[in-house]
Symmetry: C2
């Protein structure tokens, strides 16, 4: 297991962590000034800035793009409209390639509009991934399925466990992997087994960190800073590293009432300090 | 699959559904007046009324007690204090026996105070159940492990899937079963398999219904009335009945801002109507 107490080489900031305060140009600048080597931007921010300008500034700042958030949402349209979702995903692949992102993170979508059929939603995701993969392989952009916490099954992602994500990877073949976000998977009794399964197959593409607060006051926007909650962060990092992961630890905190209200420099400084002390 | 469109014989009301409005004496009376044959009370309400008075009024009203909520919480104390949790659970068994309840529902407890070790919490639950079982068997009170949604893993229950509950049942033997609450398990990709596994072993002790709202505004107190959310209620009922379940469908809705504010007679009438039309 890597020793991180005095090492920031593997730290990345997902720009969602400071999106309450900074647009992308300021986030790139702020992350670089803080001495953090990795960044993971969101597509809406990239598009607002312009893809070429974003790629240029990130390169000039010397930052590694640990992922682009996000593709997926295959079930957002009706089944006949899957073509539109695929178009959008191909654009996301292009953007990830232009940024040199390590992967395109996929939030696959929840139930289709008006549907209560989770099995059908999962089938749409399977088929959509299958159609997207050749394009992503050609662009050399790995697709990272991010299983989302079961509380998002209806409206964000019907892939809710690492086991499901691993099964999709095994069914669909190369070019596909998983993003392990501790917030989504920490509760899973099969966590160690499924991380190992992903790692042995070389499919651990990203590792996201934050914390689960008790109480959690909002299903989406009340994530905690590492160390402020109950997740065994070091235990899960040991699992992913034991499974062969050597990549970045990406801080992704949606926190409307706490961290999005603090000075962004303080958020980054706290992220660094906690990364060293509790992760 | 049973036809429920004009049949209330298998309907039960968990008193949590109207706890914002009614204490237990009024709930017993209200449920009986509504023509609902089953009731499932909470221990705090039973204790406030007195166990003998509660048993007497329920019997006089002709109601079936489909469950007593709740025992468990093995991890609420430190490990040395497990004896206190067991004492409390034995009292819960006594109360369930006095009420003639079909089962004692167990919410097993989340992380121990100050701990981030889910595996340790799960071990405490295993050991606690093992110690409680002989007492429950002697009292002829089946214990129903209720797997809770993963969003409660930290503070309420570290048993978060039916698979985990089934494993505990298989490890610990007779006298133990599961309570299937659609709210907690609807997202689970292994749901059909695990319901079948429980049913074949005769371990389906209770079936709870409500709905998952989109959006869900509170992790605990924003459950929906059947039909107002996205859960495939009929699909899940088919699973439990295909697995041999012939018991009650128990309506359990925690709804601080909606159903706890309506006239309780309206809540029961709506529960009956939705039970007939969407369950």
């Amino acid at each position: 297991m890597r020793e991180l107490a005095a090492d920031t080489r593997f730290l990345s900031i997902n720009t969602a962590t400071v999106r309450g305060q900074w647009d992308l140009p300021r986030a790139i600048d702020g992350v670089a000034r803080a001495g953090i080597p990795g960044i993971s931007p969101w597509r809406d921010q990239v598009q607002a800035m312009g893809i070429e300008a974003a790629a240029r500034q990130i390169k000039q700042a010397g930052l590694t793009v640990t992922g682009l958030c996000r593709g997926g949402m295959f079930t957002s349209f009706d089944r006949a409209g899957l073509a539109r979702a695929l178009d959008d995903n191909r654009r996301a692949v292009d953007e990830a390639a232009a940024l040199g992102a390590h992967c395109l993170v996929l939030v696959v979508g929840g139930l289709a509009p008006g549907s209560r059929d989770l099995a059908a939603a999962r089938a749409i995701v399977h088929d959509g991934l299958g159609e997207l993969l050749p394009y992503a392989r050609a662009a050399q952009v790995p697709l990272a399925i991010e299983p989302l916490h079961p509380m998002y099954a209806a409206d964000r992602a019907c892939i809710n466990t690492l086991a499901q994500a691993n099964e999709l990877c095994e069914a669909l073949g190369s070019g596909l992997g998983v993003a392990v976000d501790v917030y989504h998977v920490w509760w899973d009794p099969a966590l160690a087994t499924e991380i190992d399964r992903a790692g042995r197959a070389g499919r651990l593409l990203a590792f996201h960190i934050c914390d689960w607060l008790v109480p959690t006051k909002d299903l989406l926007l009340d994530r905690g800073m590492m160390g402020d909650g109950v997740i065994d962060l070091r235990g899960i990092r040991r699992m992913v590293e034991d499974a062969g992961y050597t990549g970045f630890c990406e801080v992704e905190i949606f926190s409307r009432d706490v961290w999005w209200k603090r000075p962004p420099e303080e958020v980054l400084a706290t992220s660094i300090a906690r990364y060293h002390s509790v992760c």
